[in-house]
């Protein structure tokens, strides 16, 4: 490392970003102690009617959906042969790996006996459960993502031989990643198919698994654009010419694809509505909220993406990506919290406590810090000089 970068890092120790991150980390550690001494009751607003709160809605459901950029980008590059997106693969894989690792980390807070998390795989398998399906796939996919991420680590460590072995398995790993992602992204939606009486009919559908899978594609690609936008300024000095030259092309390509997939998602949501003949709910208050989600967070970003691509308007595409990411959060919250237990009186409904929000922020902060730690050290936004054009 050069002297310049060292001083730059030392200077940046008391930036607003670092101070906010430190506050969140300290608050998170305090709540962690409270959680593991007082139980879930001490820190959460969960109760007997509302067993799942934002640690499931945000940390698990949104976390997994927004980490879908890993499989979408690697599939675009290695399976669909869109080689020009190659420079986008490593940031996407890293985001996905950290995303899934943090999902599993956050689950340690939510489940009652976290050291038993391997039980469903290694002790007693409940194969009738969609949660078993989710658990198995997330476990396997986290392993696949780790292996997909290792070439960057091996290049950093100078371990050429093992790096070359892993790179040879890229296609197989990518295919496995897409299979596992298809399964657990959809199964997260299917989790709720067991409770038709608790989820509002506008959000309950036999197609829930398909909805979750298709929307995860939009979430993944939008997250690649969105996250690229966020890291562009602070990480600019680490980005090589290939990354920067291809970045606008990637945004245009992914923008076009997301516009189309969002359009398809809108169509299948309408088909779901028609299949169960739920049109009459649209005139209720729930219907108004449903239309806000469908028009404001599905149709609108699809349109904005399309206009942005036509006009080659990169800022507009970035706004559309942000809106889509927000829309996925809205959808996952609607299915798991807002429209779940819709029939209960408002006094028995759930609203997250400050401690729950703190832990969710804590998890995000750890993710951002880990991302920064890795991208400033390993060849993520640039190619390692020894492996130029090795792909």
């Amino acid at each position: 490392m050069t002297v310049e970068t060292v001083t730059a890092e030392r200077k940046s120790l008391f930036t607003p970003f670092n101070i906010i991150a430190a506050v969140i980390l300290v608050a998170g550690l305090v709540v962690t102690v409270m959680r593991f001494t007082g139980g879930l009751g001490a820190v959460t607003n969960l109760d007997q009617n509302n067993p799942w709160g934002i640690w499931i809605s945000f940390d698990l459901l949104c976390g997994v959906a927004l980490a879908a950029g890993g499989y979408t980008t690697s599939a675009a590059c290695y399976i669909f042969g869109l080689k020009k997106y190659h420079s986008g693969v490593r940031p996407a894989i890293l985001t996905a790996f950290l995303g899934y690792a943090l999902v599993v980390f956050a689950l340690h807070y939510d489940v009652g006996r976290p050291w038993r998390l391997p039980y469903p795989i290694f002790v007693q398998q409940g194969t009738t459960s969609l949660l078993f399906e989710v658990g198995l796939c997330v476990f396997l996919y986290l392993t696949v993502l780790f292996v997909e991420f290792t070439p960057a680590m091996f290049e950093w460590l100078g371990m050429k031989k093992i790096r070359n072995i892993v790179v040879k398995g890229t296609l197989a790993l990518t295919i496995m990643g897409v299979i596992l992602s298809t399964l657990h992204q959809s199964s997260l939606g299917a989790l709720f198919s067991i409770a038709p009486s608790k989820l509002h009919p506008l959000w309950y559908s036999p197609y829930l698994p398909v909805f979750f899978f298709v929307s995860s594609i939009c979430a993944g690609m939008s997250m690649v654009i969105f996250e690229g936008t966020l890291s562009h300024k602070p990480m600019h000095r680490l980005m090589d010419k290939e990354y920067l030259d291809n970045h606008d092309g990637l945004i245009l390509g992914f923008g076009k694809a997301t516009s189309l997939v969002l359009f398809g998602y809108f169509a299948i949501k309408l088909i779901g509505l028609a299949y169960d003949n739920n049109w009459h709910y649209l005139t209720t208050g729930w219907g108004a909220w449903y239309m806000v989600e469908m028009l404001g967070f599905v149709a609108l970003p699809s349109f904005l993406y399309a206009v942005g691509v036509r006009d080659r308007n990169i800022p507009l595409i970035k706004w559309a990506a942000g809106l889509t990411v927000l829309g996925i959060v809205v959808n996952r919250f609607n299915v798991s919290l807002v429209a779940f237990n819709y029939f209960l009186p408002s006094s028995q409904r759930y609203f997250p406590s400050w401690s729950e929000i703190t832990i969710s922020l804590f998890v995000v902060a750890i993710g951002v810090l880990a991302f920064r730690f890795i991208t400033t050290r390993m060849p993520i936004f640039h190619e390692h000089p020894d492996y130029k054009d090795a792909h």
Partner: protein, 351 residues
């Protein structure tokens, strides 16, 4: 006695041999158990005395309640089961005065909790009880999400060893040949324990004998695929806190489609994705080959043209050279001839 023990062992061995096969055959089903037991609750008989609650608390050794069981003012607010209470009686306003309904685990024939549990902590026992095994429970609370009757409760106050708490149908007491605690204590025979089939007969007989007194429906006979605990009432069931929109599909049926899709994805995706990869590779290869051929053709054409041009130039140069020589020769000849003529003229003059 000895012979019976031997036969019992034989039966157990037979059952354990048969178990994997039957489990494989119906891997998504938890029943049916033909001799399943159950309880019939008759809302027209219940007087809301809460003696069943007290009995339940005693036999299950649950913590003492905040307010005593003979305090009937508890009934003024609707309650649900929680981590200290396996059963509650609620009061509802009926057409002719108050009506009471006991709530507890309904011990579904195809339990949603068992279907949802990813460590198989819940089991539908042959005697009808849905039991829970805390020794494998991870505490994910998916059972609570899945239960259509909102029965399982969680020990939120336990930091490291929380359990899911719910009625066991007094399975340990059944094993000893005793009745469930609540059934035994009920002073009004509002609760009847027996084989489920027999309970349905009894319920039908009561409805038939007093057609004006009962709603003509046995709640739990078919709801969510059927339950071991069933209800008859004089009030519509939705008036006594029982949802009538649950449908008859059991929990395993609701998730069967999604589960069935899993092996199809595993089987088809490699073919589909491998196919897309092969097609994109092939397209690249063909495009590359076409480019190479085109370049080769262009090069060949250019070479041929260059050669032709060279040839032409060469031949042009040759002609030009020849012409120049000819001109030179002609010139030389002309010069020589003119010199000769001059010489001749000179000699003529001299002559």
């Amino acid at each position: 006695m000895l012979r019976r023990t031997f036969l019992g062992l034989l039966g157990a061995a037979g059952a354990s041999v048969a178990l994997p096969r039957s489990a494989a055959a119906g891997s998504k089903k938890f029943g049916p158990h033909p001799d399943t037991m159950g309880v019939l609750f008759d809302a027209t008989r219940c007087i809301g005395c809460r003696k069943c609650e007290a009995a339940c608390n005693e036999v299950n050794e649950l913590p003492a309640p905040d307010r005593k069981f003979d305090d009937l003012s508890v009934l003024d607010t609707e309650r649900r089961t929680d981590e200290k209470t396996y059963t509650v009686v609620n009061k509802y306003q009926g057409m002719n005065g108050p009506v009471y309904r006991k709530a507890q685990c309904n011990h579904c024939l195809e339990p949603a909790c068992a279907s949802a549990c990813f460590v198989r902590a819940f089991k539908k026992q042959p005697n009808g009880a849905v039991t829970y095994d805390a020794s494998v429970c991870v505490g994910c609370r998916y059972c609570m999400v899945a239960c259509p009757f909102s029965i399982p409760a969680y020990e939120y106050g336990e930091p490291l060893t929380p359990r899911v708490m719910k009625c066991t149908l007094c399975a340990p007491r059944l094993a000893e040949g005793k009745l469930p605690g609540c059934v035994e204590r009920c002073p009004k025979e509002a609760l009847t324990f027996g084989p489920r089939d027999a309970l349905i007969e009894i319920a039908r007989a009561r409805i038939a004998a007093f057609p004006g007194k009962y709603v003509d429906h046995i709640y739990g006979e078919r709801e969510m695929g059927g339950t071991s605990w069933m209800y008859i009432s004089g009030e519509p069931f939705s008036h006594i806190g029982l949802r009538e929109d649950l449908g008859t599909a059991s929990a395993p049926e609701l998730t069967a489609g999604a589960l069935a899709a899993v092996p199809m994805v595993v089987g088809l995706w490699p073919v589909l994705l491998g196919g897309i990869y092969a097609v994109s590779r092939r397209k690249d290869k063909v495009a590359n080959e076409e480019r190479v051929t085109a370049v080769k053709d262009a090069l060949a054409k250019a070479a041929a043209e260059a050669e032709k041009k060279l040839h032409e130039e060469l031949s042009k140069a040759e002609t030009a050279g020849r012409r120049r020589i000819e001109v030179e020769v002609k010139k030389a000849v002309e010069e020589a001839l003119s010199a000769k003529d001059e010489d001749a003229e000179k000699s003529e003059e001299e002559v």
